[in-house]
Amino acid sequence: MSGITVNTKINGDPVEFICEADETLLDVLRNRLGLTGAKEGCSTGDCGACSVTVDGRLTCSCLVLGAEAEGRDIGTIEGMAQGEHLHPLQSKFLEHAALQCGICTPGFLVAAKSLLDKNPDPTETEIRFGLAGNLCRCTGYDKIVRAVQDAAKEMRSAKAKSAKTKTAAKKRA
């Protein structure tokens, strides 16, 4: 079996890898590229532990072939924090103790970010439906939902603040 050469972008950086035709994107991320944030839970698209974005669209990396990444833009949990600076969702998950074993956490974070990118002010029901594709078997969902609500609130006020500063700057200019 000869490998397939794939050129893609992961978290904004160009990446080239070689994979077999039947390898999933999850296999490639974990076994070939050392990006082990995405976890393998069920391998059937039910648990969401392997959540990534493909061209900005939330998906399970276990349901994507590695070869399909050619020319696409992949986003993983590794791209969420900016250096040492955690994303508000990550900070709030810690603050609310919204994790125990942590296997589901990267998937929840990627899915929650995708949800908040589209809907910055979701209701509790919207959060619960939005995260229905992510399973947690230890913490339960209440703390996770509260962490997402709190992060959303913080992100909204940060956005309002920066908009205000911009308007003030414009006025001064």
């Binding site: 698209g45 669209r57 276990c62 349901l63 994507v64 072939l65 070869a67 594709g133």
Partner: protein
């Protein structure tokens, strides 16, 4: 296993037709990859059709909507014009799986996977949707209800690929709806699914209707008797009773852990009433 990503459907059809081993088409992959990973299938060739022309576009044409075979559920849900014209079809497609699955799953895949419980299929059948098929011998068009041949089987021949689904142009005062029963609130497979599509006249009388049932027979079924029960009525109680009875009579369900035969037959009638009421309201009826 080989993986190919051709840029034309003609090339894709030729690759599939030429392959001597087991060949499969990949669009969203939400069914195919599960079967691949669980060892249920061992493909020699996978043909990814996402890069073929029109595969990922929704086009509004003079004769309706043309939905490429690789358009995802999420993309359907974000198309305001499609949602306005065919809310029942879009809500059915959007019930499939999670947000993650919605990012990839397609209605064409849902149709070709040929599960009797496929959520988008009863809505497509009720809508009178057509499938445009490209094969080694050229193009043909068939009614969506003629695609599934049995659980997991379709009427497509070797080398044939569904290029797009066509939803017809909407007559004024029309509406559609899809409802399903599942024991949970999300992420489950339909125990019963019902799609209703209807058109009213100026007085609110149903002039045209199509009713389709899912998960109550080996394939999704179109039920002309159910449509007949509501045509010429304003969906009064007698008409809804006749609709429910016609739907129950068309059921030939299995008994399994998700629902007994008796339960499915009863629920088909209940959901048909409710879906018809929603479609009627959407069509502007009171």
């Amino acid at each position: 296993m080989k993986y190919e990503r051709p840029t034309t459907l003609k090339a894709a059809a030729q690759m599939l037709a030429k392959e001597k081993g087991k060949a499969f088409i990949l669009a969203g992959g939400t069914d195919l990859l599960v079967r691949l990973r669980t060892g249920f299938i061992e493909p020699d060739l996978i043909v990814d059709i996402k890069d073929t022309a029109g595969a990922r576009s929704i086009q509004k044409t003079a004769s309706g909507f043309k939905i490429g075979a690789a358009v995802s559920g999420a993309e359907l849900g974000e198309n305001a014009a499609l949602k306005k014209a065919w809310p029942g079809v879009v809500e059915a497609a959007n019930l499939i799986g999670s947000k993650q699955v919605q990012g990839r799953c397609t209605m064409t895949g849902n149709l070709c996977n040929a599960s009797p419980a496929a959520d988008s299929v009863p809505a497509l059948v009720a809508a009178g949707a057509k499938a445009v098929v490209v094969g080694p011998k050229g193009k043909r068009t068939l009614a969506v209800e003629d695609v599934p041949a049995g659980p997991g089987r379709t009427s497509l021949k070797k080398g044939e690929i569904i290029e797009s689904l066509i939803l017809p142009k909407r007559a004024p005062k029309s509406g559609d709806a899809y409802l399903r029963f599942i024991p949970r609130t999300e992420m489950d497979i339909a125990v019963v699914g019902v799609g209703v599509n209807l058109t009213l006249d100026g007085k609110g009388i149903v002039t045209k209707a199509r009713v389709a049932l899912g998960a109550v027979a080996p394939t999704v079924v179109l039920v002309p008797a159910a449509a007949k029960a509501i045509i010429g009525t304003k969906l009064d109680k007698a008409a809804l009773d006749a609709l429910a009875a016609a739907c129950a009579a068309a059921c030939n369900p299995i008994d399994d852990k998700r629902g007994t035969r008796e339960f499915r037959i009863k629920v088909a009638g209940v959901l048909a009433r409710r879906a018809a009421r929603i479609a009627y309201k959407r069509a502007g009826g009171k």
